[in-house]
Amino acid sequence: MGLVNCDVAAQTVTGSFLFRLTVSDTNPTPANLQTSEQKNNQHPDQVKGFGKEFGLAFVTVFLAELGDKTQLSTLLMTAESQSPWIIFLGAAAALVTTSLCGVLIGQWLARRVSENVLNTVTGASLLFISILLIWDTVNL
């Protein structure tokens, strides 16, 4: 995908700036892919995996958060104040920050724990999350 972008940009007359932009945009991705996974030229698979993992994260977290205490507190604050969009902005920024923290912690753990241990811990904590959700369902 990056290569196609470069070609198109190079053929335009005013494309020098654009060309530089696309190159600097595409540079980090192959470098990251090579250092983190040691796989070359598997773009379709990479994109598919990206979409799959995005969808997995989105669906599970969305279903888990629906009617959760965060949503309820956002709702309460919105009802009390006259400016719902400021509440929404603050809540959204906080949620992005916490999930960024979560991903960084996960990456940090993945670097120091072996894959086998990580799989076990992941399985156990996902089961723990499902127990929390069942608890919520019963007590709601």
Partner: protein
Amino acid sequence: MDWNLLGLSFVVVFLAELGDKSQLAAITLSGNCQHPRAIFLGTSSALIFASLLGVLLGEGVGQLLPTHLMKAIAAIGFALLGISFLWSSNEEPEA
């Protein structure tokens, strides 16, 4: 722009979410995946969408979407994921 209100909602939601199950999910999913950015984008957009629904619909969200059913579906999904991860860690003792 009411910075007080913005700060208040940020702090409340940040503290409520810290160590909550969605953050736990972000930690565990990103530890095992090949695209941490996908997990970050997926979890944060799901959270933003959920709170957007909360803001837009107010108390109607409970009536519109059966929360019990959604949570039950999510619980089953998480349980299946957890079992599949435990399964794969048993299948590959080395590594």
